[in-house]
Symmetry: C2
Subunit: 597 residues, 2 copies
C-alpha cells in the first residue's frame, strides 16, 4: 500500500514548526491536547490510506452516469468509503461542540484532511464541499437554518453544494441570472440554471443542501443584487424530509480528471417537481437580501486555502509515488561509467532524476508549509490572544490567500508533471497513478477563482487594501524570519539576504505598478506579479522550515536542508526577470490588438 502523504512531514510542520499543540491551551480548544490531535491524524491517515486510496483509480474509470430512473449511479465502493469517513466523526471536525462538532483547530483539521485529499481528490470532494457549505450556514444562517440544514451536514448525514456559476457567468458572478421570487410565506421560489455544481446530484445521502446565489426580482444589477438561498433537494419540515424540491439534474459534466466527483448542470424551477403544488425551487434566504456575495466571500479564504491544500496533496502524493518508483526502478549507468555489462543503477543515481525529485519535494513540502501556515492564521484570527494578534492574522491571511490558492495549483501541478517524467513511458500509462494525479490537479488553477482572478485579487485589492497594510504585515513577518536567519551559522544567513533583496523588490515593484494610478496599466501583468510574489512567499516558508530544523540531522532533516538549498538556488532567482518586467510597466499585453492574435 502506497504512502499517500508523509506523516512525519505533517507532524514536523504542525507541531515542530507551527506549535499547533500549544493551541490546546486556548479556551476554544481546551478539550483538546497533543494526544487528541495525534488521534485525529492517526485516524485520518488510516482511513485515507486504507479506504480512499485503494478506490481512487476506480472512481476515475467508473465515472458517474445517470441511470434510467434519472438518478446518478456511483460505485458502491465510494459509498462505503464515505460511510467510514462519516462514522469516524471527521465531518464534525472544526465545528462548535454545541452543534455536535469536535471544535478542532483549523490547522489540525486541514492537516488531517490533506490525507484524504492526497488519497482521492474525487472522494474527498463530497465532504470537502459539505464542510464549506455548513461553515457558511453556521456563520450566516439563522439558528433554525443551522439546526435544519447545517447540523445534518455536520453529522455527515447530508451533503451540501455551492451553486454560484451559471453557463454564461463563471468568473463574472455579477452576471448571474437565476431569479428568486418572494412568496407570501417568506420563502422564495428560484428559477435558473447553475453550472459546474460539484456533488450537485447523487444518492450518497438522503438529502442535499444547495446554497444558491440568485437575484431577487428588482435587485440592482451586478454583485450588489446577489442574495444567498438554501435550496434543499428535498424539502425539510421539523427535521423531517418531505417532498421533492423543483431542482432538476440536467446533465453531468465529463471532465479530463477528478472524474469521481459528480459535476452537474442543475435547473432550478423547471417545473419537474411542484413542491406545495406549484413549480419553482423553494428557497430560504440566508441573511439579508443583497448580501449573497459578501457572505460567500466571507468564507472564501478558508475555501481557497482548502483548494490550495488539495493541489498540494495531489502534488505530494505524486512525489511520493515518483520517489518510490525512482528508488526501485533501475536504468542505465552514471556519466563516465565505462563497463556496459555492469548492473543498471536505480533511477535516483541519475542527477537529472534527482533534480526532478528535489524540485517536486521543494514544491510540495513548500506548498504544504504554506497551506498549514495559512490554516494556523485562521485559528489565530479566531482565537488570537488579543485584538492586535487577530488583526495581524487577518491581514496576513488576506494577502496570502490568493497565493495559497494559486501557487500550489501551478507548482504542485508542475510536480505532478515531473512525477510522470520520472516514470518515463510507464508514467504516461493508466497502469500507474501519476497520470491521474496530473489530470486531477489540472482543475485546481480553474475552480474557486482562476489564476487570473487570483492575480487581480492580489495586486488589485489585497496588497493595496488599507493603504498597503496587508503587504506591510507580510513584509514584516518575512523580515522577522530573515532577521532570525541572519543570526544563524551556515547557509541560512545567505538565504536571508537573498530573500530580503526580493522582498524589498516586491515592495518597490508594487509601488511602481500603482504609481501612475492607472488600474489597467497596473494590472496588465498581474499574473506575473502573482507568480513572483508566490515564489517569494514560498522561499520564506522554506527559510522558516530550515530554521525549525535547526542543527538536527537525519535523512528527513537533511532533506529539508536540500530542498531549501534547491529552492533558493533554482527557484527564487526566477523572480528577478519577473520583477524587471513588472517594473518596466511593460505594455505588450495591454496594447495588444486582439485582431493580431
Amino acid at each position: 500500500m502506497s504512502v499517500v502523504l508523509s506523516r512525519r512531514d505533517v507532524d514536523f510542520l504542525l507541531f515542530d514548526w507551527l506549535r499547533a499543540a500549544d493551541l490546546a491551551q486556548r479556551e476554544r480548544y481546551e478539550e483538546h491536547s497533543k494526544e487528541t490531535f495525534d488521534a485525529v491524524l492517526d485516524l485520518s491517515e488510516t482511513i485515507a490510506t486504507e479506504r480512499f486510496a485503494p478506490i481512487n483509480r476506480l472512481l476515475d474509470t467508473q465515472e458517474p452516469v445517470v441511470g434510467e430512473d434519472g438518478k446518478v449511479v456511483l460505485p458502491a465502493e465510494l459509498s462505503a468509503a464515505l460511510a467510514v469517513y462519516r462514522d469516524s466523526g471527521m465531518p464534525a471536525g472544526v465545528f462548535d461542540a454545541e452543534l455536535g462538532g469536535m471544535q478542532l483547530p483549523f490547522v489540525v483539521s486541514q492537516g488531517a484532511f490533506a490525507f484524504f485529499q492526497a488519497a482521492s481528490a474525487a472522494a474527498s470532494s463530497y465532504p470537502f464541499l459539505s464542510t464549506g457549505n455548513a461553515n457558511l450556514l453556521v456563520e450566516h444562517g439563522s439558528p433554525e437554518q443551522v439546526r435544519d440544514y447545517a447540523v445534518p451536514v455536520i453529522e455527515g448525514r447530508w451533503y451540501g453544494t455551492m451553486c454560484l456559476s451559471e453557463p454564461q457567468a463563471g468568473s463574472s458572478l455579477g452576471d448571474i441570472t437565476t431569479r428568486a421570487v418572494r412568496q407570501d410565506d417568506g420563502t422564495y421560489r428560484l428559477f435558473g440554471t447553475k453550472m459546474w455544481i460539484s456533488g450537485g446530484d447523487h444518492e450518497l445521502t438522503e438529502n442535499i443542501v444547495h446554497l444558491v446565489l440568485a437575484k431577487v426580482e428588482g435587485a440592482p444589477p451586478g454583485v450588489k443584487g446577489i442574495s444567498l438561498f438554501i435550496v434543499p433537494k428535498y424539502l425539510v419540515e421539523d427535521g423531517v424530509i418531505g417532498e421533492r424540491n423543483d431542482v432538476a439534474l440536467v446533465g453531468l459534466n465529463h471532465k479530463m480528471g477528478w472524474r469521481g466527483t459528480t459535476n452537474t448542470l442543475l435547473n432550478f424551477g423547471e417545473g419537474l417537481a411542484t413542491p406545495g403544488g406549484a413549480p419553482g425551487a423553494v428557497g430560504h434566504r440566508v441573511g439579508e437580501e443583497g448580501q449573497g456575495l459578501a457572505q460567500m466571500f466571507h468564507m472564501m479564504n478558508e475555501a481557497r486555502i482548502s483548494v490550495g491544500m488539495g493541489a498540494v496533496a495531489l502534488g505530494y502524493t505524486g512525489y511520493l509515488h515518483a520517489l518510490e518508483y525512482a528508488r526501485t526502478r533501475t536504468q542505465g549507468r552514471v556519466p563516465g561509467a565505462k563497463d556496459p555489462s555492469a548492473p543498471m543503477v536505480p533511477l535516483t543515481q541519475h542527477a537529472d532524476v534527482r533534480r526532478m525529485l528535489l524540485a517536486q519535494k521543494s514544491y510540495v513540502e513548500g506548498g504544504l508549509g504554506l497551506l498549514l501556515y495559512c490554516s494556523r492564521l485562521i485559528d489565530e484570527q479566531l482565537t488570537g490572544g488579543d485584538e492586535a494578534a487577530r488583526t495581524r492574522a487577518h491581514d496576513l491571511l488576506e494577502v496570502l490567500t490568493p497565493i495559497a490558492k494559486s501557487w500550489p495549483s501551478q507548482w504542485c501541478l508542475a510536480a505532478n508533471d515531473l512525477a510522470i517524467q520520472v516514470h518515463g513511458g510507464y508514467g504516461y500509462t493508466r497502469d500507474y497513478a501519476v497520470e491521474q494525479f496530473y489530470r486531477d490537479n489540472r482543475l485546481n488553477p480553474i475552480h474557486e477563482g482562476t489564476h487570473g482572478i487570483q492575480s487581480l485579487d492580489l495586486l488589485g485589492r489585497k496588497v493595496i487594501a488599507g493603504g498597503g497594510a496587508g503587504l506591510a504585515t507580510l513584509v514584516g513577518a518575512i523580515k522577522e524570519t530573515t532577521t532570525r536567519a541572519a543570526a544563524v551559522d551556515g547557509p541560512a544567513a545567505a538565504y536571508a539576504a537573498q530573500l530580503d533583496a526580493r522582498v524589498d523588490r516586491l515592495v518597490e515593484v508594487t509601488s511602481q505598478l500603482w504609481a501612475g494610478g492607472d488600474p489597467a496599466l497596473a494590472l496588465a501583468n498581474s499574473a506575473v506579479y502573482l507568480e513572483a510574489a508566490g515564489h517569494v512567499v514560498v522561499a520564506w516558508i522554506w527559510l522558516e522550515q530550515l530554521l525549525a530544523v535547526g542543527d538536527r540531522s537525519d535523512a528527513f532533516f537533511d532533506g529539508k536542508r536540500a530542498a531549501t538549498r534547491y529552492f533558493f538556488a533554482f527557484e527564487l532567482p526566477k523572480v528577478d526577470p519577473q520583477f524587471d518586467l513588472l517594473a518596466s510597466l511593460d505594455r505588450t499585453v495591454l496594447d495588444l490588438d486582439p485582431a493580431s492574435l
Copy 2:
C-alpha cells in the same frame, strides 16, 4: 469546422522566410515548383481538416481493444481516413522518384505533414512511424530489402514500426536483451520482448514491417552489440505475403492520451507461430552486425525533428481553438468599468487572457519556425550547393536537434495548458478539444528520448563535438541574424543586442561548465542548460521572423511583431537566472543523497 493550423503562417515561414520555393531550382527537386508545393499543402490541409480532425475525439474515446480472435480492433473511421491519406500519395512524400516517391523537399513535406499532426496526433502516427521506418531501410537496407519492405510502405500499403525499447530498457538501449540467432540460410531468429511499440499490431494494413534492435549471440555488451533486423508480421517471398511470423501481441498499453495509436508489448519468438516449421521470429539483418544503434541514430535527427513538429502541431491547434473561444465567449468587464449592467465583453478584452493567448502564439509560432528551419537544414545537408554549405547545415542540425525535440515538447505543452485555462471550466471538460491536446502532447517530452536524454545529448555531446564546432556554427548563424537586425530601424536592433548578450553568455557558460573536465559536474544541471539554450534559439527564430516581416503591416504581420515583443520581454530574460545557476557550477543536485529525498 475548426482551423487545424494557420496556412498563412506555414506559407509565410516556408516561402517568405525560408524561401523554400527556391529549392525547386536544385537538381533533386527540379520536377517541383512553387505550384507543386502549394498543391501538396492544399491537399494536406484539406484531408487533415476534413478527414482527420473530425475523428480525433472518436479515436480518444474508442481506444484500441483486442478482439476475441486476438486481433486489434480500431474504429472504421480511422481506416477510412488513412485510406484517403494513402490514396493521396502523401506517404511517398520525401522518397526518391525511383522508389515511387514524390522526391519532395523535407521542409515542404514537414510543413504539409504538420497539418495531419495538428488534426490528429493519433491518426497521423501510423504514417509518421511508417515513413521513419522506410527512411531507415532506404538508407541502410540492401536493394532487395528496400524493394521487399520499404517500397510497400512508401506506397502506403504496409505500415512500419520501430522496436527499440524493452520493459527493462527504455532510455538505456545498451541493456536490451532481445537475442538474434543466426540461421544457416543467412536469416536470424529473434527472441525477446519489446515495449512501447506504437503501431505494433493492427489490421489497418495487410502487413507490418518491424525494425527491431537485438543482440546477436556472442555480441559485445552495451550499445556496440546491437544489430538491426527487419521482422515482418507476415513473411514475404518475392513480394508475396506468406505465413505468419512468430511475433505475438502480448498486450496494449493504456495511455493518458494519444489513445488512438495502438501502443503494444510484443513478444518475438514466443512460439505462437512456427514460420518454416520452427519457433522464433524470422529476421533479416540490415547492414552489418553491431551497427544497429548507429543506423538508428543516423535517422534520429529527422525522427526527433518530426516529434518536435508533432508537439508544435498540438500546441498550435490548441492555440487556434483557444483563440476562437476567446473571441466569441463573453465574460465580465474590463478593470475600471463602472456599469454592471453593460454587456459582457469578449474574453480577448481581458489583459490576462491576451497574455495567455500571446504566450501561446509565441510558443507555437516560434516552435513552428524552429522546426521548419531545422527541416530546411535537412534539405541543405542533402542538396546544399557545396561541401561547406552541407557541412554547415549538418553541424547546425546536430546542435539544434535536441532543442528542436525538447523545446516544443515543453513549451507547446505549456501552450496546451494555457489553452485550457483560456476556456475556464469548459476547457477541463471533454466537450472541448483542448483537454485532449494537453493529454496527447504530454507524451512528447517522454518518447524519442526524454528531456533528460536530450539535455545530455546537447551539453554532453553536441556543443562540445568537434572542439565545439556545432556550437560555433550556431553562434555564427545567430550573430549573422543579429548583425542584420542591428541595422534595422525600430525594435529589431534592441532585440539583437538582448540576444547577443545571451548568446555570448551561452558560449561563456558552456566553457565554464566544461572547464573542470568533470562530466558529472558539467552535466549535473544539463536540463537547465537545455532550457536556457532553447529559449536563446527560439528568440533567434523570432528575430528571424521579425526580419522577414520587414515593414509590412496587417493583422498577421502585426501579430508577428507582438509575439516577438512578447518573447523578448517575457521569455528570453528567463535564461539569465538559469545561466547564473549554471555558471555557479551548483552542486545541489550532484551532492544530493537520495536517502534524504
